[in-house]
Amino acid sequence: MILGILAGLGIALFGFTLQSSVAGINRKVVARVQKRYGPPWYQEFLDIFKGLSKRGVTHGWIFDFGVIMAVGGIIATAMFMPITSNIAAFSGLDNFFIFVYLLAVGMLGMAMSASGSGNPLASIGVMRALTQMFAYEVPFLVIVMTIIKVTGTSSLVEIMAYQGQNGWFMWTMPLGFVVASISLLGMLGKKPFETFIAPAELASGPMVEYGGKHLGLLFIMMEISHFIEVSLFVHLFLGGATTIVGYLIKYFLVYTAANLYSYLNGRFKIDQVVVFFYKWILPLAVLQAVWVLWR
Amino acid sequence: MMNSMSNIELVKDLKARYKIINADVVRDTQIAVDVTNGDVHSVLAYLKSQGWRQLSILTNIDWIDDGEYQLVYIIFNWDNPIWVQVRTRIDRDNAKFPTITSVYPGAKYYERDVHEFFGVEFEGNPEALQQLFLEGWDDMPPLRKDFDAKAYSDKKYSKREYTTDFNTKEDEK
């Protein structure tokens, strides 16, 4: 158990460094798309450690406890994440539902401390984040439900093995792949579904009252949650990976595609997001589920 | 109703009704009418009934050499696009004028603005005496011509002193 936990912490650290460097490279890629140089690839690390080195402000014990619970919850989720089919901290226990619900602990912790800061902008940002989660999470769960039923197991490593034999779910379940990629944009909080950060309207939503080390810790949380979401997507739809290199390539491609796509469009209003997901994406997901399971 | 009354006809119509001191056509879409103090209220009421629903602005001009203020009401008609300036002159020292909030309720804040920057008192609009933009102003109304801004600035805000390092040729002469 102790060894597992240490390995888990290692994976969380690896996830953090991987995601930060991929995000840094992505900032360069986006800069080059806009014909400018863009920051060095390690800019994300600089931002985070700059945040940690500053002396911020606290609004009370719930403000701090919420941040600690949020980042702790996210690190705990990352500890369960298998990198490739044989590198995983707790083999056999990487159950899909743990990821969904432990992410919810992170979201709840940040929501609690954001509304504990007493700023109405933060409460509105948290309300929007939860409403948006209510929109993009349900289709994703329905699709993953079909995957679990088809593969007969909800452990990511075995799903990877299943895709190894009979094809990635990207090809066997095209509708599911479309739904999951749009939900991935929602999870990452990328541009079309950036309603809860919304720098123009809500002054960066829940993050409005965070400065100094709270900001740094929450950036770490954001990086690790991106790592979890993207590697979930890679394991479920792109057949995971047997070697580290394969994993890194797939990871980089998925994140860059999502990032570039997000720079193309503006920001939805929050009720448009809910209507969009419940009018188009959920029926697609249910159609895919019925097609695969009931045929 | 479009352009039913061109600006010249409007001036003639107003002249027929009220004692217009002088009227000139500023632009084809704007006319200016000077009226006596007493007529201002009725002219505005009449023009409002004719469709000039919007009071664009109420400003004040400080003619310090004649010792008079000139109140200017600019109103606008959305159906017949002509701005009308109704102008009247009031005494500068104890400037008082009846409020027109009964005709244009929106004038409440304009009157407050004119009071703050010129010191004109509007009877019938008690709110006009409160401050609007200038927070914590402690001097005479700043837009009056006899207000010396530079003196106020030197008095209130610290200056940066410059030591003259070198003198040009003219200075030495």
Binding site: Y37, K54, V57, E209, G211, G212 | G136, S153, Y157, S158
Partner: protein
């Protein structure tokens, strides 16, 4: 008011040992990723978008706009500083997380510039808020804006960008100046109750 005036506008330079390895390391990170508070007080702010575009690319230096004072490092005072803006600026500056810097653009901040004789514009910002970097030019062009930021980065490296320490240590002096100029900083009136 003169007696507690700060001896020299420029802070004494702390040697590396005085600052210790932690602050040295911290300065390295703080220098590489400066976030600016998007508070465009005056007309010089129009030059900032150019500094972000392809030709000058402020992001190369790791700089970027941030929405709230809590998250920002540098407060850009761009152009003339009117009475009412100073009150909001003081409130925002005090909300920023330390260490924080101020970059002042244009001549209006130094001696009031073309508004030196106006009743509403302050003539010398340095008495009210500690300024670290001045950028010259009545509307400085993007190159000088970028130079200003590079100067700020070098100041941080040498440990000279200690305006926030000066503000913290001489808080009464700054507050006295502010009240002398502005009257009441945290204003109470019908619009704010």
């Amino acid at each position: 008011m003169e007696e507690i005036r700060i001896k020299n506008a420029f802070p004494t330079q702390e040697t590396a040992e005085q600052r210790g390895t932690w602050t040295e390391l911290g300065d390295y990170f703080r220098r590489q990723s400066i976030w600016m508070l998007m508070y465009c007080t005056g007309c010089c702010a129009i030059e900032l978008p150019q500094a972000m575009t392809t030709v000058y690319d402020m992001e190369r230096l790791g700089m970027g706009p941030m929405a709230t004072p809590r998250q920002a490092d540098v407060l850009l005072i761009t152009g003339y500083l009117s009475l009412k803006t100073l009150r909001r600026l003081i409130y925002s500056y005090e909300q920023m997380s330390e260490p924080k810097y101020i970059a002042a653009f244009g001549p209006c901040v130094l001696n009031g510039g073309i508004y030196h004789d106006s009743h509403a514009v302050l003539n010398r910002l340095d008495d009210y808020l500690p300024v670290d970097v001045y950028v010259g030019g009545c509307m400085p062009n993007p190159e000088s804006v970028m130079n200003g930021f590079v100067d700020l980065m070098n100041l941080i490296k040498d440990g000279k960008a200690t305006g926030w320490k000066r503000y913290r240590d001489n808080h009464e002096w700054y507050r006295a100046n502010q009240i002398a100029a502005v009257g009441e900083v945290f204003v109470h009136d019908e619009f704010h109750e």
